[in-house]
Symmetry: C2
Subunit: 293 residues, 2 copies
């Protein structure tokens, strides 16, 4: 996997989904002296790109993106940020339909989870001669480190919850369904599907309020890579919003894998966690990767 | 497994959770000439028991239930209806605490999913000399039959969705997390946790509205037994409410296992499904039971 260094002046294209990750990647590139060209996916916005050279693109409109990158002599691409909507095949532009006419790709787009679709996009760029580089290779500071990140330590009950939720997260990840699970009292109470982490946490909050889960056991959120996923795209990420949603759900902490998850706005996330009495934990990959079935 | 027959006048106790199943079981018992004594769990109500001999009980209050059953010479018990809330250990009455003081039971109550907790309750009754009989052995008409139940047939896309959702449902069932999953376009988009089926369907509706899942592919709900579960308690069930929630979520149908799921208010459920253009399918257990990993 290629990264960039401080003297790396070769430009990079940032395909920007939703969330703040694309902005951090763009800022990190700028700090490293790397020109960044932003391709903002329509409908996945949220960031102000007025300070960067940028274009908008449809998820189904691959051809104009290729043209824009080639015109600028860009051959390195970063995929960053989530993609909430899935293009309907019938909404693809004719050019994209031609490019995407391989049966295997059509099948993946029709039936795939996020991981399958991302692999397809990576494959598409690579077949056009681009190199995919990981967001964390530009913005390495975002990677979760091992151990507790904030001031709050975890107890034995949290360990049991981490084990249970990690096992569940790994299984649903291996099925390309989601990356996250919530466990409390050793019991898994919520699994992440297409709704995403924040909405899963809101559900836990509502179940707590309705008395459907214990009022006394705090529980944990675990987010893990899908075992088969390409680490150049869609690493699990947490940030201050995740911490606030976890606190609202009454959880005692959040665990991700060190080196295989991103912590956005780290200082603010840690401050929020400390304030709410939540631990933030970077699991040693060995621990989190133990066989689950 | 014991059932009751038309000439079976030996009384039965019905431990009643939420939903209408306990009422159907009680009515079926009455039709069979079997006196039914209702033990309504507090906080899980919804049925009017004025027409039956009944008592209220706390989930943690086992001793008075045993006394009431023994006084009436009842030695057969049916567990029926869902249990939404989980007792906190500290809220158990002293008598129950003594009975439930075995470490294994405490551990299950603390960490178990529904299946573990139900096994515990079954075990508790059996160790006190009671026989557990299945709701479907009293109200056999409720069992799902094989094939399509209504007028709507399913297409090939639905088959692929059933396969994907069944695989996911079986996996989360084996982990004692939930019984249901929703798939559309071959992609699993929602997994059932402690929130239950209706809330999972409401989530799918909301994701559909927000454009996070396809507007064009309908998708299916599959509910399956947990592979390890005791079939005398907590069979997957569907009813008119499930059909309405599935229709609101834009789904094309619902599949359960023939002989291993309950269809409540069958005529109304089928009428709702026909009206909304949904199929209702009883899977052959062989199909649904194929290895999933």
């Amino acid at each position: 996997m290629s990264g960039i260094s401080a003297r790396d002046a070769e430009p990079v294209a940032i395909i920007a989904g939703n969330g703040r990750l694309p902005l951090y990647v763009a800022e990190a590139a700028r700090e490293a002296g790397t020109p960044a060209f932003i391709v903002q996916l329509r409908g996945e916005g949220g960031n102000d790109w007025s300070d960067f050279e940028h274009m908008d693109a449809d998820l189904g409109g691959f051809r104009p993106v290729v043209a824009a990158l080639q015109k600028r002599g860009i051959r390195r691409v970063v995929l960053s940020g989530g993609v909430r909507s899935r293009p309907e095949l019938t909404s693809l532009r004719p050019t994209a339909r031609v490019i995407w006419s391989l049966p295997a790709i059509l099948k993946k787009l029709r039936s795939g989870g996020d991981d399958k679709v991302l692999r397809m996009v990576i494959d598409l760029f690579e077949r056009h001669g681009f190199e995919i580089i990981a967001a964390q290779n530009i913005a390495g500071d975002l990677l979760a480190t091992a151990g507790t990140l904030g001031a709050v330590a975890l107890d034995r009950e949290a360990r049991a919850d981490i084990d249970a939720a990690a096992r569940a997260a790994r299984v649903i990840g291996s099925m390309d369904i989601g990356q996250g699970a919530v466990s409390l009292g050793g019991r898994v109470v919520a699994l992440e599907g297409a709704e995403g982490t924040d909405q899963m946490l809101e559900r836990v909050r509502a179940m707590r309020e309705a008395g459907r889960i214990s009022q006394k056991r705090r529980g944990v959120l675990v987010k893990l890579c899908k075992p088969q996923q390409d680490l150049r795209a869609d690493l699990p990420s947490i940030g201050p919003e995740t911490v606030r949603a976890a606190a609202a759900a009454g959880l005692g902490g959040i665990a991700v894998e060190a080196g295989r998850a991103l912590v956005l706005d780290r200082a603010e996330a840690i401050a929020e966690a400390d304030r709410a009495g939540l631990f933030l934990l970077g699991l040693e990959p060995d621990t989190a990767m133990k066989p689950v079935l």
